[in-house]
């Protein structure tokens, strides 16, 4: 799992580097593009992901200490995390309605590819969370073998780690 996370982070790191490098070449396009984004939506999504990640962390602690409530916390993380998707799609809809898409310019190519890839990771992460929730319900982690749940939690934390870098890079920094 760590190797997989490392590979994922490398892909995103390359994306970030490429995005930053291109911004240096053409700061005006990038600043103009940034003005069109919706920072509040971005901020809400940051909070959504962090909250969901927090729920997962709380669930892991409970699983580890054999305390009750692990399933509840874990289940809570899923709808909270899933909120990310409609917000992101609403942002895309706004931008596409205003005539911006993948091909508009370097900024939007970067924006859509990066956030699009991240969105796919959110979806995959939610599927994993759902799967682990089922396993918790079945009592798969009662014997103290919780590495499966921990790996999934790590993956979910990675998804918001990427967002925490992506959000300031694309939405905030001029």
């Amino acid at each position: 799992m760590w190797l997989f996370i490392l590979a994922e982070l490398s892909v995103f790191a390359l994306f970030f580097l490429l995005f930053s490098a291109l911004r240096r070449y053409d700061p005006e396009t990038f600043n103009a593009g940034q003005q069109l984004l919706h920072p509040v939506a971005g901020l809400v999504n940051t909070l959504v992901l962090l909250t969901s990640s927090g729920c997962v962390a709380e669930a892991i602690v409970r699983l580890r200490q054999h305390r009750p409530g692990a399933l509840g916390w874990w289940l809570l993380s899923i709808p909270v995390g899933a909120l990310y998707i409609p917000i992101k799609l609403w942002e895309y809809k706004q931008l596409v309605a205003a005539g911006h898409d993948l091909d508009s310019n370097a900024f939007f190519t970067g924006y859509f590819l990066l956030t699009g890839f991240h969105l796919l990771h959110v979806v995959l992460g939610l599927v994993i969370l759902l799967f682990v929730a089922l396993r918790i319900k079945q009592g798969a982690y009662r014997q103290g073998q919780i590495s499966g749940a921990e790996s999934s939690a790590c993956y979910w934390h990675m998804v918001d780690l990427v967002w925490v870098i992506l959000f300031p890079l694309i939405y905030v920094i001029h």
Partner: protein
Amino acid sequence: MKYQSQSVARLYFIAALGLFAGQILFGLIMGLQYVIGDFLFPAIPFNVARMVHTNLLIVWLLFGFMGAAYFLVPEECETELYSPKLAVVLFWVFLIAGALTIVGYLMVPYAALAKMTGNDLLPTMGREFLEQPLITKIGIVLVALGFLFNLGMTVLRGRKTVITSVLMIGLIGLAVMFLFSFYNPENLVRDKFYWWWVVHLWVEGVWELILGAILAFVLIKTTGVDREVIEKWLYMIIAMALITGILGTGHHYFWIGAPEYWQWLGSIFSAMEPIPFFMMTMFAFTMVRKRRRDHPNKAAVMWAMGTGVMAFLGAGVWGFLHTLAPVNYYTHGTQITASHGHLAFYGAYAMIVMCIISYAMPLIRGRVANSQKSQRTELWGFWLMSISMLLITLFLTGAGILQVWMQRYTDTPLPFMVVQDKIEIFYWLRLISGVGFMAGLGVYFWSFFIGTEEEAAKDNAQMMAMAK
């Protein structure tokens, strides 16, 4: 050899090596044509020699993969092959179709061949690597179907292992991707777009699964490391190969008219493509270091480690050199590409086929390993071929750098042919290295014929005793 039916692999391996020799012969002819332009003209023009060189490469590797699968699958599944007879029939169909195609290339002008073989019914010819006439392409599909059926039935009735699953996914992928060779849209951009689905998704996609599975099989057999450990490595390698390789296709879409975002996707994902190859090197070396026994077949172990290193260099390092869009803008289609192509194909695919041949052929011939003398000769072949190929790669890289420098990355570009004249020395050096490669191949072939049965038995007994 545990199952009688594994011996059908012998036919495939012999054919593969014979076609390999043909490929190298045509490579030398072309190497000479680079410096003596009218050599063998008009009998064998450069474009025909090139077509024969690349088509033979693909066909001999396919023979090698099929042989590997026929040897490996029964042993992994712990059952006889579903139908050895079908395997033999398909072998002859494939060999005769392949030979007729090559003869067609050499005897008739390409346009006439296209007309003779009904290319106007469904035009599929005339594209690099997919030059085969329509009937040959259909033949390939039929052979592939029969082959997959035969293996599939064997897998279904036997033990299921990760290695056979990965191998089967790779082989099915190989067959499915080939179907795109029948799709030939009028629009040149779309034509190129899907053409890469065959070419790229073969060598940087499904073929890597086949490579990984064969490598894992040979390592299990020769090192005795636990299957679980080997399987874990295999999983990680193929996951990385697919994650990077599929979207890595984008590095072919930079300048063909596809949307610009491919420059992002292609650069980023293909920049990661060296990772699975690096993991394969680590895999081979780690397993050999952790080996639980000393297998008497040292040569096979050497090929396994060699394929890891050379694939990483050729596919990984030399691929990375020119995969980023801003670099590729200057290097596209120069000798840099040729240098990468040579080392990557040799390191990844030629060497893995020779690896499984090195492991399997002695067993098919009824011994655990060849005699020491024979193995030493084989290793001479290994080193001669590998060093020659490295030299070919380095000389082509030199030629490519100068070509980019004088023809592309300059304010005063020189015409193509003027540049070609200026870098002629590199082509001569490459040709000499090519002769070295042919010599290495000769030594390798020779190793099959030395050492008697008794010598092999004596050497193996000695090795076993020492290991204990």
